[in-house]
Symmetry: C2
Subunit: 251 residues, 2 copies
């Protein structure tokens, strides 16, 4: 970073370093970080040392580098994601206790569904979602809810772009997706059988803030052909509960 005259560039480099850490790659050497962040080796080592000094990265017992607990603290402490998740958690626990399947909370972020929370059930089936993981808007039940209530400009942009075939049953035809989204806007519920994985059906409902704006999607993942009625009922009740909890927060 010594040869970076502008602040933006320094921020970009920090972001590029942080981006090399993923759900499946939580420890790396400084050299690996440099290569993956496309930074010259000396720059990468200096930058990693600086980030360790600040606590944003840490070294483990084997001298490898991982994300720092201080970064976790700074990112969460004042975060509205944490507030939403705290308001949602008791309601998610109730859904999970009754439906006994994976229960997720997602928000719209940079044209994806970003998962803020996931409660897993030991008896539940496959589930591709992970906390801080993403799924495409058009392919996941959560994404369909978020896309249905997104600003029109974003919806049109997604509809105009190629729609990836995540699984055999993913809706990839723009006209069909447009009709589906109109239906989700009417009902507030998205049911997506086999659109992410052939063996499961995602069911998501809209979560609204006290002003009535859709701010998140709450979902469960059921086995492919399980009945959906009870899950929809529980999700709708939980979404109302989250809205009430958020109102109580404001008081």
């Amino acid at each position: 970073m010594a040869n970076s005259p502008s602040g933006d560039s320094a921020i970009d480099r920090v972001v590029r370093v942080l981006e090399t850490f993923t759900i499946d790659r939580t420890v790396q050497t400084a050299s690996e970080i440099g290569r993956r962040a496309r930074l010259p080796s000396s720059t990468a080592h200096r930058l990693v040392d600086g980030l360790i000094e600040a606590g944003l990265l840490e070294r483990d017992d084997e001298h490898r580098v991982r994300l720092g607990m201080r970064l976790w603290e700074l990112a969460l402490r004042g975060s509205h994601a944490l507030r939403l998740r705290q308001a949602a958690l008791p309601h998610m626990e109730r859904v999970q206790a009754r439906i006994r399947e994976h229960t997720q909370l997602a928000v719209l972020e940079q044209d994806s569904a970003l998962f803020l929370e996931r409660l897993s059930h030991p008896d539940a089936g496959a589930n591709i979602t992970r906390i801080a993981g993403r799924l495409p808007l058009h392919a996941s039940s959560s994404g369909l809810v978020l896309l249905a209530f997104a600003p029109e400009e974003l919806r049109e942009r997604v509809l105009a772009a190629p729609l990836a075939q995540v699984a055999k049953e993913t809706v990839t035809d723009a006209a069909a997706l447009r009709r589906l989204l109109a239906e989700v806007r009417r009902t507030g519920v998205a049911v997506a059988p086999g659109s992410i994985e052939a063996v499961s059906t995602g069911i998501a409902v809209a979560v609204r803030d006290p002003r009535g704006e859709v701010i998140a999607a709450l979902s469960v993942v059921l086995p492919r052909d399980a009945p959906t009625e009870q899950a929809v009922t529980e999700l709708v009740r939980a979404a109302r509960g989250i809205r009430s909890s958020l109102s109580a927060d404001l008081r």
Copy 2:
């Protein structure tokens, strides 16, 4: 940051900006951030703009600044804090369902107990801890467990420094604290009546990783004079469960 020739300084400024966000201060203007981060106004505005550009900060509808969802994602996605928390959550839920009081998970971070997770019970009493919040090591039950099993150098440093009187019953005498920590090392359990708040008793146990190292403290907060036996039993069982879940993760 334009007048910052060194990378370390750029990182420091970013950290100083992020530090201005707290549990009770989640939105600020760029000017407030600059003042609280002790940065010149023009520097603060440029830095905030750069952080918004990178997604680490966001503007809300009223043009105020808050922590970005992208920061949340980058901090959590590859984080071992998240892995520990995910391994612990089902076991914490069981403790909470049986004891029906607040249940917390804390780690040692920069000479404090940093709380990674907290499950609240609607019927439960007062509780000062919050996710991404901290408590002093000598005053909280979680902190006593973490301090008892910390490297000797850290323990001696804490014992040599003044011990803050957080509440009337906080142990502030170094010799008494030393005896207490030896007892916690023997039993793996810390019971701290009234040491944070006069109305509650914190009870914490050590959570060990598969190699046997203490990596966290699991605690509940009971009313001041409630019996503690059942809570200790449940916490010890949960700590064993977390250790098993972490072993399963490694396979």
